[in-house]
Symmetry: C2
Subunit: 226 residues, 2 copies
DNA sequence: GATGATGTACGAACTAGATAGTACAGTCAA
DNA sequence: TTGACTGTACTATCTAGTTCGTACATCATC
């Protein structure tokens, strides 16, 4: 896939049709991703997706086989995009505390900016991860966040400012939980507590709290009152 | 509702049918709750629900109007049950640290035991909380967890062991995030990291971490390395 | 206390419309 | 001419919701 027909990316050939399979696929996938993220697998409508693309329903089946095939690709695409974004984070050279702070802030903001991804993950979890299970592509996308947090943590321990014995995957789990929840459960939480958890100042507070929680958690000195 | 026809709760009249509206409603709601939690609003099938009840599809419409009406009642029921369970928590008399520990442990376990509730909340968030918005019943169920954490926190501050300036709703938010995520995202997280986050020992570790995070967060002495 | 009217609780069968998926006939470039 | 690509017009099936009707109980009336 994505083998891009080199040499002939002619922008507008002759007078008639310009075959552009990759473009067609991309257009369909883009629309489909939005629809699935919005309505779920069973809630999304193939006809609706087709209507929003520049192509006919026939093309969806031609390129993606069936509805589930399309969903799977949308899921993969969501993961791919977000992992790509994660790779942008640069914390090399930063001391452990600053690095962890930056990692958490970045994760918080990144999740916030990728609501559709969060929704896809929620939907996939509703399906007990049965589609993710089918996707080698997703499992092959290694989670860069783990490498990052792993390295930060090791450095912190080595420098004697983080306590030893913690599990990087669990640290990542904690950061994920706090950042994910902020997007995934905002609707119900805001309604029940009558407060807009999506308001900028509120988000800043939550982000600050999240950073602080992680820093305090890894800190060497145990601050918890006996 | 639930006005129970006093005096005449005849257990088994004549020889034929025993009309039992409340029983019928309960049976339908029970089955429907499971189906919605499992498949979502659009994924659940009225015919399937009807088939699993002891009644015909006609009864669903007779008692609940339409599919959305049934979903709304299932949502309300899920919240009601969980709030009822929360009320069991007794932390009166415990000192702040022990009380907070217990509250967090309780929340963690309670969420774990009510996966269907978690799933309903996820589903409702996928729908942007539009059904919860329609439900006065749910908003009227006050969240006891907030009262609890509020009181614990105040006592801790008064006793000089918790730092002041924190927001009880935000504390509740943090506890919720960590406990909710553990159930909601277990499928995808386990698959991606090739580790069973539902295994007993793993759960114990996560629970312990969660308690520790909260205790360190509210602790008076700032342990975060500058 | 028999008789008929009325209301509640329920079921079987049906319908209209939605929805995933397909058959077929093309078009266009190589 | 071949083969990749694309649109139009379909179909089979599924699905929410309805129509019509029944069984039983209660109540008013004779």
């Amino acid at each position: 896939m994505t083998v891009a027909k080199d040499e002939k990316s002619r922008p507008e050939a002759g007078g008639g049709r310009v075959p552009d399979p990759e473009g067609t696929r991309r257009n369909i996938l883009e629309i489909a991703s939005r629809e699935f993220a919005l309505n779920g697998l069973s809630g999304a409508r193939i006809d609706e997706i087709a209507a929003r693309t520049r192509f006919s329903k026939r093309m969806i089946y031609y390129y993606f086989g069936d509805k589930e095939g399309l969903y799977l690709r949308a899921l993969e695409e969501a993961y791919r995009q977000v992992r790509e974004g994660e790779a942008q984070l640069d914390i090399e050279g930063l001391p452990p505390v600053a690095a962890l702070t930056r990692l958490v802030e970045f994760t918080f903001e990144h999740h916030h900016q990728h609501e559709d991804f969060i929704r896809m993950v929620m939907i996939e979890n509703i399906h007990h991860g049965q589609y993710l299970k089918q996707s080698d592509a997703i499992r092959d996308l290694n989670v860069t966040a783990i490498d990052h947090i792993s390295r930060i943590y090791s450095r912190g321990v080595a420098e004697g400012i983080f306590r030893p014995g913690l599990d990087p995957v669990e640290l990542h789990w904690q950061v994920s939980a706090l950042c994910f929840f902020n997007v995934s459960n905002r609707a119900t939480f805001s309604m029940i507590f009558g407060r807009d958890f999506g308001a900028p100042e509120q988000l800043e507070r939550l982000k600050k709290n999240t950073v602080e929680m992680m820093l305090r958690f890894v800190a060497k000195d145990d601050p918890s009152p006996a």
